[in-house]
């Protein structure tokens, strides 16, 4: 097991009451799984995805990653886990607007203090892999939506993470581009043995999953 959640509870205070965004959720992900998380809007999908590595702190429950508890470790250590082992892809691409394609891709390597030469080499290779070697010096606003998401994918894998967390990566893309991106994620999953956990609305996208989680009102529904 690479990632395990047990009795995960996330409560939000709202108008004096409590909302269970995640209501005692338990699941296990094996190394190399392509996990899809589906469910209606507001069912807690993003909350689940982002709480795994501390971007949202849980109310209770335990999370184990790569054999170690990570729900009770310090913010500093969690940050370190994210830096070394996790890649994120968001619906909104989350690129840094004033950096070029290659600079955006180099950020995870810069955070790991990898040498400039190595950064250029690895970012160049990854951009080749996602088919953007002719767009290296473009700014995000000079790229199409599909290209921007490919930059984000390149950025999420450049530091060779163990797991990619994707929150509706095709949400802003048209159906053709969506398929392209999904095929790409599957390729990464199969060729590089990187575990993927992907939140999606789309039934087509959920078909890519080797393991499927379905949420409703914060509860896991067995399917």
């Amino acid at each position: 097991m690479i990632l395990q959640g047990e009795n995960i509870l996330k409560q939000y205070h709202h108008n004096g009451g409590l909302i269970n965004a995640l209501d005692h959720v338990s699941f296990s992900v094996r190394k190399g799984d392509f996990v899809t998380v589906t469910g209606p809007s507001g069912s807690g999908k993003s909350t689940l995805l982002l709480s795994m590595f501390g971007l949202i702190r849980l109310s209770s429950g335990t999370i184990t990653f790569d054999g170690k508890r990570i729900d009770n470790i310090s913010d500093r250590h969690l940050t370190d886990v994210r830096k070394k082992s996790v890649g994120y892809i968001l619906q909104s691409f989350a690129l840094i607007p004033y950096l070029t394609t290659i600079q955006n891709v180099m950020i995870p390597l810069a955070l790991e203090k990898i040498s400039g030469k190595e950064q250029l080499k690895r970012a160049g290779e990854i951009l080749d892999y996602v088919g953007l070697s002719d767009r290296m010096e473009h700014l995000p606003r000079e790229l199409s939506a599909g290209q921007q998401q490919r930059v984000a994918i390149a950025r999420s894998i450049v530091h060779r993470p163990q797991i990619i967390m994707a929150d509706e990566p095709t949400g802003n893309l048209d159906p053709t581009l969506s398929l392209e991106i999904l095929d790409f994620l599957r390729k990464i999953n199969q060729e590089n043995k990187i575990t993927i956990m992907m939140v999606t609305h789309s039934p087509v996208a959920s078909e890519y999953g080797t393991m499927k989680l379905h949420l409703n009102e914060g509860k896991l529904i067995n399917s």
Partner: protein, 406 residues
Amino acid sequence: MTISTLVLIELWKRKSQLITGLLAITLGIAVIVAIQSVSIVSEQNVARNLDNLGANILVLPQAASIDDYYTSDIDAPTLPMDYVERILTSTIAGVDNMSPKLTRRVKVGNQSVVLTGILPKSEIASKPLWQSSGLLGAQLKTACAPSSSANESHGLEDKKLQRKAIDTLFSEDCLAGSQVAQRLKLSANSKVNIMGKEFNVVKILSETGTVDDDRIFANLKDVQTLLKLENQVSAIEIMGCCNAISQGLLGQLRNILPDTRVTTIGQIVSTQIETNQLMKKITLVMLIIIFFVGGISIGNYIWANVNERKREIGILRMMGAERSTIYKMFLLKALILGVAGGILGFILGTLAGVILGPYLAGIIVKPVYMYLLWSILLSVAISLAGSLFPTYLAAKFDPHSNLQED
């Protein structure tokens, strides 16, 4: 790429915002540098002027201030020339030498110069600097002046040279200070027309670093006639014996010279020290104001920048950037702003001092390069202090809630 490169790229891509962020601190530093550059020069000038006065007692008209004495405005008060005679014929002991002077600011062509009428013999004998500049030596004993004996020996070696020099400042001759000579393009043996009268330039005086550099010296009689101030002088510089001063020379002089101010150089120096202390207080107040205004303004700029980049901070934190990385990003930016503000402030302030100094304070201001270091240190300190709190808040941002907004 490193986090520092990221900071530099961001700064460069948004350089127009930079100017607003820098404005307050740059202007603040500029004002301090300008005040300091001007006051340090005036301080040095006064010290040097007094040092080289060659006299230790000054007799001024009652209504005149020490500033009048240096600036020599048109309507500066005068005292009667007879007072020289009066001192000479009195029984007062301890006056070794006297130099009456009439000084006025006049126009030569379109340039403003200070014309000083002197009695050559006594004037020159009481000027240690001029003696060393090779004009002649002193043959009068100069009381208390520490450097006098050295000058004396110079002069005594060639009696003829002394006589010649004293004789050369007869009517229609003049000596030009080095700066005046430069401004009016004068050289030895050239002619200069002052208020309709033609003068021969006998010699260009070598640079002394004092007000004398900006003066033309002519025979006292000529100057009195020219200014229609017959028998009037602006001041009498007296070389008094130190013992005599401590035994009441000043009081004795006051008794026989009505309507005058008789002061020692020591008193003048202490007045100047008071002025300098006032300038220091003003600078201190400015410093405090600038610390707050500059700090708040930079802090405000950084806070706006932090807010604009909330999402970016969230993205970086998501990718594993530590809080310390966020600190580094914004404090490095503040540091760069601080250095830039310090350098710009120094340049602006120095330019202001150099350009305005001659108009406002009547002195030549030179850049004080040491202030560059102080400007940068001060500006960086202000900038970092102002940015600390916004940066602290930025590092504390919850990454998740900042990822969502688009």
